[in-house]
Symmetry: C2
Subunit: 195 residues, 2 copies
């Protein structure tokens, strides 16, 4: 998505450890008009996927997910993060390891919000090692729902998350695919196709 790539080049900052900081428009300060454009793009990409519900993880996934939900007119459920989980009778839970923070969290959603006939689109702001997506897969499996696809705002294709989703045979659409960092420069997969 050209508009997003341009914004990353303009406002993103590359930090040591191949971390891209985009807190100016995506995950701390949010640009709602850009989010809406992204939601519309997700709706377009998954228009034939029979999506009945969108699932994401708090907090950074919420803005892109609700905009996709607005464009697709389907409900959005955001999984809650906890240090630990108690009283889990009414919850589907999964453990998610964060490579950035080097800690484990549990994510959970109330069972009543996933029905067996749901076709669920998973949305998240970043795809790196795919731990959050894997946690959402686990929750979907426990709920016996069909996964309609995975929609990612910014994907680092050189990390392991991409393969994890491919191995599962689930369709992945990322609005910006970063192939490499070169010092503080960001390279996108779209550069190759444009060349």
């Amino acid at each position: 998505m050209r508009e997003l790539e341009e914004r990353i080049l303009k406002d993103g900052r590359v930090l040591p450890g191949e971390v891209l900081k985009v807190d100016g428009f995506l995950n701390h300060q949010v640009d709602p008009d850009l989010m809406f454009a992204m939601g519309t793009e997700f709706a377009h990409l998954f228009q034939d996927a029979g999506v009945t519900k969108i699932l994401t993880v708090e907090s950074s996934g919420i803005a892109p997910a609700v905009m996709a939900g607005l464009a697709m007119h389907v409900p959005v459920v955001f999984a809650r993060k906890h240090k630990s989980v108690t009283l889990i009778d009414d919850l589907y839970t999964a453990e998610v390891y964060s490579y950035t923070k080097k800690t484990s969290n549990h994510i959970s959603i109330a069972k009543k919000f996933l029905q067996a006939d749901d076709q669920v689109l998973l949305i998240d702001d970043f795809l790196a090692n795919g731990q959050a997506v894997q946690g959402m897969f686990e929750i979907c499996d426990k709920a016996h729902v069909k996964i309609a696809g995975v929609g990612i705002v910014i994907e680092k294709v050189f990390q392991t998350g991409h393969q994890l989703i491919a191995d599962r045979g689930v369709r992945l659409e990322s609005l910006a695919q970063i192939t490499s960092f070169d010092g503080d420069r960001v390279h996108f997969a779209s550069e190759d196709t444009q060349a």
Copy 2:
């Protein structure tokens, strides 16, 4: 806002301790179309307030705040919650006590996202004792920005948050004002004006 009140009556559940559970459309599962209608209503209510930025607190405030931001075409910043705060040089922080959870959290936002000429609209999903709003007031004061108003999705007018905002002389607009719970029945301020 009639549509919101009807949804509360249909899907809300009153729990002991005057807690209204609305996890079916507001703070766990989200109805994006209703959120957009609410965002449009906030934009209408504050159209003459000169709003340059919206501030909210993760996670439940994000969906209504980004929809208001979409309708007003202004950026949205969501404050992060932490158990404790370290490395605060670049952050504005405030302590927020939760009466529901009986714990204190710190909220923070990066200093660079509040400029002295900003006129900030504070948005949150619930107003009860007003602790989150008070935390946002504190952050705005530290940043020397003007507070353009407070927009709340569901207000419990019989708790102390309403007065806290009135005492500060800040304009408050709530899309649903709950005056009392009567067993599992919810009463709105609009019932009085309609009578």
